[in-house]
């Protein structure tokens, strides 16, 4: 393997890291938005928003990093995938706008407050559905001709993508729910505990469905997983998933506070790993590899020099921000 091919591997790692960070970080605050209208009292909704108000903007920045990283390291993938997802991405951006401004506007409004409650909820829900459907469309692959997307406006819409859309709603809701268990107390925490089991069962069901459907629909992915000796090397993914599931159930029953959130994130990371295994080494399924789509070595090197310092710095910011705003959030917190 040439040296620049290793460089591309590093870049694949960085973009993958940005995407999984986005899913984990924005995932739980989108999940709060999904659960938002079902909370019992208005003051509970205040608390839910206040648990993430200092960090949501930071969480969402990972989405820009994912997009910019794709553009910088894999411009071809950026130029194919974004047009293929034109309508869902437009919907996602609009949804994120309504949801994002709700953080500022809701606490400034009184008579129009319900508008921003709804805007926060629907924005979170639509953004999640669309991200999930985009993921499904991605797994199914895109039509490419002459270095450009050559399919239609609605190729992304399928039964499978509806399934992945629903799966992500359940997944983010689980992250949001377990985040609430960790960061709140009293009746709100109680409510989150109650939700944590059915949501978890739904997520496990969706993981199973997607895991069965994907290889059935795609021979290459089936071969990847079920041929010898791959099946041996890859077996830790499902085994670990099962182990985490059992640990989660125990954690909820023992009413642990931090573990459910950590284990939910673990489930996401494992699902992401499973997905990566299925699609490797393609960045535009079904047949454009990371090396075909990569920017040239001089671009990747220029970027890597900076990233080597900056990504650790960002991780330090993350830890510091969460450290500053640690602890249970009560009903008396806010700057508004």
């Amino acid at each position: 393997m040439e040296w620049w091919q290793d460089l591309t591997l590093i870049w694949t790692g960085i973009v993958a890291f940005a995407i999984i960070m986005y899913v984990l970080m924005d995932g739980f605050d989108l999940g709060l938005g999904i659960l938002f209208p079902f909370a019992g009292r208005d003051v509970d909704r205040d608390v839910m928003m206040n648990t993430v108000a200092p960090v949501w903007d930071f969480n969402e920045t990972w989405l820009i990093l994912g997009g910019a990283g794709l553009f910088a390291a894999f411009p071809l993938a950026y130029a194919v995938i974004l047009p293929a997802l034109y309508l869902p991405l437009t919907l996602m951006l609009i949804a994120l706008i309504f949801r994002g401004v709700a953080f500022e506007f809701r606490f400034k409004a009184k008579s129009s407050r319900y508008v921003w409650d709804r805007s926060f909820h629907l924005g979170s829900l639509v953004a999640t559905v669309v991200q999930g459907m985009a993921l499904g469309a991605f797994i199914q692959g895109f039509t490419v001709e002459n270095r450009a997307y050559a399919g239609g406006n609605f190729d992304w819409f399928s039964v499978f993508s509806l399934l992945t859309g629903a799966a992500l709603v359940a997944g983010y809701a689980l992250l949001g729910c377990t985040w609430l268990i960790w960061r709140t107390e009293g009746s709100l925490q109680e409510w989150a505990y109650k939700l944590s089991k059915p949501l978890f069962l739904a997520v496990i069901g969706f993981i199973a469905l997607v895991s069965i459907w994907t290889p059935l629909a795609n021979q290459t992915i089936a071969d990847r997983w079920f041929s010898w000796p791959n099946i041996l090397y890859l077996s830790p993914v499902p085994i670990l998933t099962a182990a985490l599931a059992l640990l989660y159930w125990r954690a909820i029953n023992k009413r642990y506070e931090v573990q459910p959130f950590a284990l939910s994130m673990g489930l996401f990371i494992l699902s992401f790993a499973g997905l990566a295994v299925s699609l490797w080494p393609n960045v535009i399924p079904p047949n454009i590899s990371i090396w075909d789509a990569a920017s040239p070595p001089e671009t990747q090197e220029f970027l890597l020099v900076g990233m080597a310092f900056l990504i650790p710095t960002i991780v330090v910011y993350t830890i510091y921000s969460y450290y500053v705003f640690r602890g249970k959030i009560g009903e008396d917190v806010g700057y508004h």
Binding site: A53, G100, E104, S111
Partner: protein
């Protein structure tokens, strides 16, 4: 004008970026203003600085939030609507935008949380540090975004292989010829914009006889900055113009409204440029002045539009008029600066209502000037997406249909109209309330000194709408 995906994408891009640019333009200056106030508070301990900072921080938070959400749209639109451009220039533009994200966006986002919510959670010094980081973040962000934008105007440090750009020198890419001028001009514009907002609102409070303690600080400080920046901006604009004549002569010809160009060209004050007839109607000009300004010689040679093939000319009327709007506002700003210096000298700054009314009227001046300048420079680059190398028509997404483009444009129009109306309404309500003395001493230190572990940092959910 055909309604095709290309035209719709151009309208959508122009619309979304024009909307977006208002917020960074405002928050760059505001972040620095808040940093100064926090610094003064830390140094003097005078409560008035803290209250003023908290007041402007609320307005900052709304503006910044709107800037963030509209900015995410920008970063995805490159791919959705301009995928050919993304593929062709991605090797060059991608890293610049990536560097903006990792050096600026994360810095701003991480410390914004502490700036807004952290006063009771971190020491005073750390809170001031967070204000500094947010302010520095806005400047770093300007650096990268203007570098990448400038590269499209004056590409450098690359070679073209198989129709795509490959970088030969990153130094030349980042510090491309027009970048220093554009960065200086834009950042100064942003500071002026914020200064005029602060000056205008302070003038309004003075006229209404409200918040005298606060307005003395904010009125004097913002006008002091205007007195320095308004003349500086005219100088920077002139330097930027001279550079543009060197690197984008067609744009200068359109800005000046010159068809023939040549020696001893007049400065055209008013005209109706006619692209069909290739001449101006109703032209009023000052002889030799354009040559004098652009070449510093009465008989200097200036470019004319006819030197360029018709298909390589920008759309002249818009460029011609937006340029005049920008320059006109620049001179009005200079007038305010002179008025401030004069009134300060006569010690009549706080009792000259006519001047306060002018300041109120000038509140939105910076925004209008920035939009006009942005139109001048971007439409002036047309028909090129990368000056001289890639036409806008060749950068659009091939698979994009008119239906999809129309859908997204319609959605963005409605969304931005709603968001902008709501945001403006809440900002106006905050302005009506004005700076508020806080209810209790609730900083980190105060809490520690008092030995109380937990205390509300402010009145939660302070509503700004009247009770009904």
């Amino acid at each position: 004008m055909d309604i095709d995906p290309l035209m719709l994408s151009r309208i959508q891009f122009a619309f979304t970026i024009s909307f977006h640019i208002l917020f960074p333009a405002f928050t760059i200056g505001l972040a620095n203003w808040i940093m100064v106030l926090e610094g003064l508070w830390l140094k003097t301990g005078r409560d008035v600085y803290r209250q003023l900072s908290e007041f402007w921080t609320k307005i900052f938070a709304i503006s910044f939030g709107m800037g963030v959400v509209s900015g995410i749209v920008m970063s995805y639109q490159f791919g959705t609507n301009w995928s050919r451009w993304s593929d062709i220039t991605g090797n060059v533009m991608g890293p610049l935008i990536q560097y903006e994200v990792v050096t600026a966006f994360f810095l701003e986002a991480a410390f914004l949380g502490i700036l807004l919510f952290g006063r009771s959670k971190v020491p005073r010094g750390m809170h001031f540090f967070a204000a500094c980081m947010v302010a520095i973040g806005t400047i770093i962000s300007s650096f990268w975004i203007l570098s990448s934008n400038s590269w499209l105007h004056t590409p450098a440090g690359f070679e073209i292989r198989d129709g795509r750009f490959f970088v030969t020198s990153w130094w030349e890419v980042v510090f491309n010829p027009s970048f220093p001028y554009r960065l200086a001009h834009m950042v100064t514009a942003a500071f002026l914009t914020t200064s005029f907002v602060i000056a205008g609102i302070s003038a309004w409070y003075i006229l209404k006889g409200r918040f005298a303690e606060y307005t003395r600080i904010s009125f004097g400080m913002s006008l002091g900055l205007i007195a320095i920046l308004a003349p500086l901006q005219i100088l920077l604009g002139d330097l930027h113009g001279l550079k543009t004549m060197e690197v984008q002569p067609a744009k200068i010809a359109a800005m000046e409204g010159h068809w023939e160009g040549g020696a001893g060209a007049p400065l055209i004050l008013f005209a109706w440029p006619d692209m069909e007839a290739e001449k101006n109607h109703y032209e009023i000009g000052i002889p030799f002045l354009s040559s004098l300004i652009l070449t510093h010689e009465l008989e200097g040679e200036v470019p004319g539009l006819k030197q360029f093939a018709p298909e390589d000319r920008p759309y002249v009327p818009i460029v011609f008029w937006t340029f005049r709007i920008m320059v006109g506002i620049g001179f009005l700003m200079l007038f305010v600066a002179v008025g401030f210096v004069f009134l300060s000298w006569r010690r009549r700054l706080y009792d000259s209502p006519w001047f306060h009314w002018i300041c109120v009227a000038m509140t939105p001046a910076g925004f209008v000037a920035i939009l006009a300048g942005w139109f001048t420079t971007e439409i002036g680059r047309q028909p090129w997406m990368v000056q001289g190398l890639l036409r806008t028509a060749d950068g659009v997404t091939p698979s994009l249909t008119a239906g999809a483009a129309l859908t997204s444009l319609g959605l963005f129009l409605v969304t931005y109209a709603l968001i902008f109306t709501a945001g403006t309404y809440y900002i106006l309500r905050l302005l009506q309330l004005g700076p508020q003395p806080h209810h209790s001493e609730t900083t980190h230190q105060a809490r520690q000194e008092a030995g109380r572990p937990k205390r509300p940092m402010s009145v939660p959910d302070e509503r700004i709408e009247p009770a009904e």
